[in-house]
C-alpha cells in the first residue's frame, strides 16, 4: 500500500506555534479524504516535524511508534539528511497523536518505506527556506549558498539555523513536488550505521514504558477474564475482594466486538499487587460460550477434513491435475505441512493508563495504532476525539500485538468509572492466554518435476483460522492467509491455490510477518522437496527455477508490488556465497537454504546445524537482505537478528496449544524462548542498492524456519513438516 506523491494534494504548512517559542515548524500532511485508507490496517502515511529554536537546538519528531525497531533513529536520519544537520546535535522526540492527522500506525514493516520520500521532501523544504533566509540577509542568490551542519554557508561565512529560523519562518514554503532532493551519492547520513538515540535511556531504567507511567493520584486495575475464548461473566461475588485493604472498586466490564476485547470483572486498587491479589478472591460464574470444547486436536481434525474436501480455487494457472497425472509416480510428491498458534509474548504485557475527566481525556498508551486507541477511548468515554490527548510511550515489544486496541478500550471503560487516572495492567497470564495469536494452518501441497528437473505442477491446498474472517473484514477469508504464494517465483508450469477457512473461536491477528511466517515455511520446504526429488542441489535448483529476470504480479491485487525474480535470486546468491554453500562441512553438520519475499523485501537465509548424539544445535546463520536503500545499516542488521531469533523460537520452542477452549501455555515457564546458549551467530549481508527503501522489521523471519528444516533434511533425510519441531521429530 505504497503512497505515491502524485496521488495526493500536498502543502507545506507553517505554524507559529507559541508553545515552541520562535520556532520553525514544518508539517507535511495529506488531506484525509485523499488517503483512501481503510480504517484499521497496518500501513501508514506521513507526518514529519522539524523544530528549530532560536538558539539552534534542533528537534526532529518521529511519528511512528518506537517498539525496539529503531524507528526513532531511522526516520529522523532521513529528515536530517535533507535538512543538512550535524547528527550529533539532533534531538529526537516522539510526536503525540495529533487528531488532525491520520495514521501514525506502525506495522507491516512500513514506516520507512511509506514515509521516506515525504520525510525527505519536508527536510528539503525546510532547508530551502533557511537557505533563502540566509541568501536574503547576505543579499546574494540562494544558488551561492549551501546548507550543512546546521548552518547556511557562503564560502567561509556561515549563519546558523538558530539565527535564521525567525526570518525563514516568514517565507513561503516551497512546493514539495519540485523541491530539490539530494542525489543518493550526496548522502552523508542515510546509509551510515548510526547509534540509536533511544539506547542510553534503555540501559539505566529511565526509558518510560507503558507500565512506567506515573501520574499524580493514579490507581491500578486488573481484569479477571473468562479463561475460555469468547466466554462471558454470568455473575460474580466480589465481597472477599472488596474486603481487602487497598481495593477501591470491583465491577464488570463489557466485552466489545469491534476490538474483540474480553470483558470481565475489573478490580481497581491502590497498587498493582493489590489489584492482582484481589482478583484471586473473586468468585465468578462464567458462561463459557460456544467454543468451550475446542482443542488443538479438534482443530487438526477439522483442518484435515477441509484439505480432503473440495476447496475454493483462488488461483489457477495451467492444469495441475493433468500435469500431475502425466508425471511418473517417482517424480510426484504430496505432503502435508502444519503450523500451530503462536503468541506475541511481548516482554511488557498489555497495559495503558487513562484519565477521563468530564471535558477531556488523557492517555498514555504503548500502542502501534494510536489513532485506533484514541477512537476506542472516545467511544468508551463519549468524548469527541479532539478532547483526547494521547501519548504513545515506549513499548516493551510490539510484533503486531500492540496494533490492537482492546487494552486501550478497557483502560477507558475503567477510567470512566473511577474518575481518577488508572493504569490497567495485564498479568503475564492475561497476556498469554488472551492474545490475538498467529493463526494455526494446515497445507497439502503436491507437485511434480519432469526428467529435465522442470517443475511441471504445484498445487497448494490450505486452510487456517483466517484473520480476515475473525475480523469480519469485507475481504474474503483467504485474503489474509496466502501471502506471496500468489506470486510463486519458481515458475511452475502449472500452479493452483485452493483455500477454505476453518471454524475456530481462537482470537487471531497480525503476528510478526503475519501469514508470511507460514507461507514462507510451506513454499520453501516444498521447493526443497522438489529439488531433492529431482536429485538436484537445493540452491542450484532454486536459481534454475527462477529462470530469467522477470516481475511477477500479484493477480489478486494488481496494485501491490510485483516480485522481482532478479532480486530474489540476488539474495539467494549472496547468502549462498557468504555461507560457503557447497563447501564441505564437518561430520554431523548440515546446511539448508530458504528465501522469501514479504513486505516488498527479499531475504535469503542459510542455516547451518549440527546434530550430535541426537542433540540439534543451530551453528550459524547467514542472511542476505535486499531492502533497497538501507537507511541505517546497523539498525537493519539488528532487525534481521531479531526477526531470525523470533523465528527460531517459533520453529524450535514456543507454541500455543488449545484445550477446553483455552490456551494451555500461560507463562514463560511453558511458552519457552530461545536462550543465549541456543542462539547462533548471525551474519547479515545487505545488498547495496539505490532502490526505494522497503521494510525490515519482519522479512527475515519467514525464511528462517524452512532454512532450518531444510538443513535438518540435508543432514538426516528427515523432513520436518510440522512446526514447532519436537525432539521426537529428530529421533
Amino acid at each position: 500500500m505504497s503512497m505515491r506523491m502524485g496521488e495526493m494534494s500536498r502543502r507545506g504548512l507553517l505554524r507559529s506555534a507559541s508553545s515552541f517559542g520562535a520556532a520553525l515548524v514544518i508539517a507535511f500532511e495529506i488531506p484525509r479524504e485523499a488517503k483512501g485508507e481503510p480504517a484499521k490496517p497496518p500501513f501508514g502515511p506521513v507526518r514529519a516535524w522539524i523544530r528549530i529554536d532560536s538558539v539552534g537546538t534542533v528537534t526532529l519528531f518521529y511519528h511512528k511508534s518506537e517498539m525496539g525497531q529503531g524507528i526513532s533513529t531511522a526516520l529522523p536520519m532521513v529528515l536530517a539528511e535533507e535538512l543538512g544537520l550535524d547528527w550529533k546535535n539532533v534531538n529526537v522526540e516522539h510526536a503525540d497523536l495529533d487528531p488532525d492527522h491520520q495514521n501514525q500506525g506502525t506495522g507491516g514493516s512500513g514506516s520507512v518505506a511509506s514515509t521516506f520520500m515525504q520525510m525527505r521532501k519536508a527536510g528539503a523544504a525546510a532547508r530551502e527556506m533557511l537557505v533563502a533566509a540566509a541568501a536574503k540577509r547576505w543579499g546574494v542568490s540562494p544558488e551561492n549558498c549551501t546548507a550543512r551542519d546546521g548552518a547556511v554557508w557562503r564560502e567561509n561565512d556561515k549563519i546558523s539555523y538558530g539565527e535564521l529560523v525567525e526570518s525563514a519562518s516568514q517565507l513561503p514554503a516551497p512546493d514539495f513536488d519540485t523541491v530539490r532532493l539530494k542525489r543518493p551519492q550526496e548522502f552523508t547520513v542515510i546509509g551510515k550505521s548510526l547509534a540509536r538515540k533511544d539506547i542510553p535511556s534503555k540501559t539505566d531504567g529511565s526509558a518510560v514504558f507503558g507500565l512506567d507511567v506515573r501520574v499524580p493520584g493514579m490507581v491500578y486495575a486488573s481484569i479477571e477474564r473468562c479463561p475460555v475464548f469468547g466466554g462471558k461473566v454470568k455473575s460474580f461475588d466480589a465481597a472477599n475482594a472488596k474486603a481487602m485493604k487497598g481495593v477501591l472498586d470491583v465491577f464488570a466490564i463489557e466485552a466489545d466486538r469491534e476490538v474483540h476485547s474480553t470483558g470481565g470483572v475489573a478490580v481497581v486498587a491502590e497498587t498493582t499487587y493489590i489489584a492482582l491479589q484481589a482478583r484471586k478472591r473473586l468468585r465468578v460464574d462464567w458462561d463459557y460460550g460456544p467454543h468451550a470444547n475446542e482443542s488443538s486436536e479438534t482443530l487438526r481434525k477439522q483442518f484435515r477434513r477441509l484439505v480432503d474436501s473440495q476447496m475454493k480455487v483462488v488461483l489457477e494457472q495451467g492444469d495441475t491435475e493433468a500435469a500431475m497425472a502425466s508425471a511418473p509416480a517417482s517424480k510426484r510428491i504430496e505432503c502435508d505441512y502444519e503450523l500451530g498458534f503462536q503468541a506475541h509474548a511481548t516482554m511488557e504485557p498489555m497495559n495503558c493508563t487513562v484519565h477521563i475527566q468530564p471535558d477531556r481525556a488523557e492517555a498514555w498508551v504503548p500502542t502501534q495504532a494510536p489513532e485506533w486507541a484514541a477512537q476506542m477511548i472516545s467511544k468508551a468515554s463519549g468524548l469527541s476525539p479532539d478532547k483526547i490527548v494521547l501519548h504513545t510511550t515506549y513499548m516493551g515489544g510490539g510484533f503486531g500485538r500492540r496494533y490492537q486496541a482492546d487494552f486501550a478500550l478497557e483502560g477507558a471503560q475503567i477510567a470512566k468509572r473511577t474518575g481518577r487516572p488508572v493504569q490497567v495492567v495485564w498479568s503475564r497470564e492475561d497476556d498469554m492466554t488472551h492474545d490475538f495469536y498467529r493463526p494455526a494452518s494446515y497445507h497439502r501441497v503436491s507437485g511434480a518435476v519432469d526428467e529435465a528437473a522442470n517443475i511441471t505442477a504445484w498445487r497448494h491446498k490450505s486452510t487456517s483460522t483466517s484473520i480476515a474472517q475473525y475480523w469480519r473484514d469485507n475481504a474474503p477469508p483467504e485474503s489474509s492467509e496466502l501471502g506471496s504464494s500468489v506470486q510463486n517465483p519458481y515458475a511452475p508450469r502449472s500452479y493452483k491455490l485452493e483455500y477454505l477457512p476453518a471454524d475456530s473461536g481462537v482470537p487471531r491477528a497480525w503476528w510478526r510477518s503475519v501469514e508470511a511466517s507460514q507461507i514462507g515455511f510451506v513454499m520453501e520446504s516444498f521447493i526443497d522437496e522438489l529439488a531433492h526429488g529431482a536429485g538436484a542441489d537445493p540452491y542450484e535448483f532454486r536459481i534454475r527455477a527462477l529462470g530469467n529476470a522477470r516481475k511477477i504480479r500479484n493477480p489478486l491485487d494488481e496494485k501491490s508490488t510485483p516480485l522481482d525474480t532478479a532480486r530474489f535470486g540476488g539474495v539467494l546468491r549472496l547468502a549462498a556465497e557468504k555461507s560457503g554453500w557447497g563447501t564441505p562441512l564437518p561430520p554431523g553438520h548440515g546446511r539448508g537454504i530458504a528465501a522469501h519475499f514479504s513486505f516488498n523485501s527479499y531475504v535469503a537465509n542459510v542455516v547451518e546445524i549440527s546434530i550430535i548424539s541426537g542433540r540439534l544445535r543451530v551453528e550459524r546463520i547467514t542472511s542476505a537482505v535486499d531492502i533497497g536503500i538501507a537507511v541505517n545499516p546497523a539498525g537493519v542488521r539488528a532487525q534481521v537478528e531479531s526477526a531470525i531469533i523470533y523465528g527460531l523460537t517459533a520453529a524450535l520452542k514456543s507454541e500455543i496449544t488449545i484445550e477446553n477452549g483455552r490456551a494451555v501455555e500461560t507463562n514463560f515457564n511453558k511458552f519457552t524462548t530461545l536462550t543465549m546458549k541456543e542462539t547462533p551467530p548471525i551474519d547479515v549481508h545487505i545488498v547495496s542498492s539505490t532502490a526505494d527503501p522497503t521494510g525490515i522489521g519482519e522479512p527475515a523471519l519467514p525464511p528462517t524456519a524452512p532454512a532450518l528444516t531444510n538443513a535438518i533434511f540435508a543432514l538426516t533425510r528427515k523432513r520436518i513438516r510440522r512446526l514447532p519441531i519436537k525432539p521426537a521429530d529428530l529421533a
Partner: protein, 164 residues
C-alpha cells in the same frame, strides 16, 4: 507493618502487606520503575535487582524478607556514573525495545563480580535464564565480554592498594 531497608544507598520504610513482592514495592510504592514486570513467577529475569549484592528476582521476593537489607536497582547500579556494563551495552547497541534490559544488566553486573574473566560459554550459562523477546542475545554476549575486558583494564589502571 512497616518494613525498613535500603535502596540504592537510601534508607526506606514502607507500610504494605508483608507478602508484597519487592518488585511492586519498588515500582508502585517507591516509584522506581526501572525494574520490570515480565512474568511474576521468576521465569524471565526482567525484575532482577541485587539484594546485599546478590542477584534476586524481585517479583517473587516478599518485602518482609528484605528487612534490613541493601537493595540495588538499575537506577543505582552506576552510582552516579555509567557502570562499565552499561557502557558496553551502549557500545554494542544491545537494547531493542529495552524492556528486558534492566534485568539483563543487573544479571550481568552480578555475574561479572563473581566471574570477572568469563569465557563466552560462561556468559551463555549465566545469561540463559533471562528472556529477551527482541533477540538481543548475541549483542549481550558481546557486551558482557567487552565489559569484562574493560573492567580488567580499569583494575589495572588503579593505583596499587587503591580502592574505588
Amino acid at each position: 507493618m512497616a518494613v525498613s531497608f535500603e535502596v540504592n544507598g537510601r534508607a526506606r520504610s514502607v507500610d504494605v502487606d508483608p507478602q508484597t513482592p519487592l518488585l511492586w514495592v519498588l515500582r508502585d510504592t517507591l516509584n522506581l520503575t526501572g525494574s520490570k514486570y515480565g512474568c511474576g513467577i521468576a521465569a524471565c529475569g526482567a525484575c532482577t535487582v541485587h539484594i546485599d549484592g546478590e542477584p534476586a528476582r524481585s517479583c517473587v521476593f516478599p518485602i518482609e524478607s528484605v528487612a534490613g537489607k541493601k537493595v540495588t536497582t538499575i537506577e543505582g547500579i552506576g552510582d552516579g556514573h555509567r557502570h562499565p556494563v552499561q557502557e558496553a551495552w551502549i557500545a554494542e547497541q544491545v537494547p531493542q525495545c529495552g524492556y528486558c534490559q534492566s534485568g539483563q544488566i543487573m544479571t550481568a553486573v552480578a555475574f561479572l563480580k563473581k566471574n570477572p574473566q568469563p569465557s563466552p560459554t560462561d556468559v551463555d550459562e549465566a545469561m540463559s535464564n533471562n528472556i529477551c523477546r527482541c533477540g538481543t542475545a548475541l549483542r549481550m554476549r558481546a557486551a558482557v565480554l567487552r565489559a569484562a575486558k574493560e573492567m580488567k583494564e580499569m583494575r589495572g589502571r588503579e593505583p596499587v592498594g587503591g580502592a574505588r
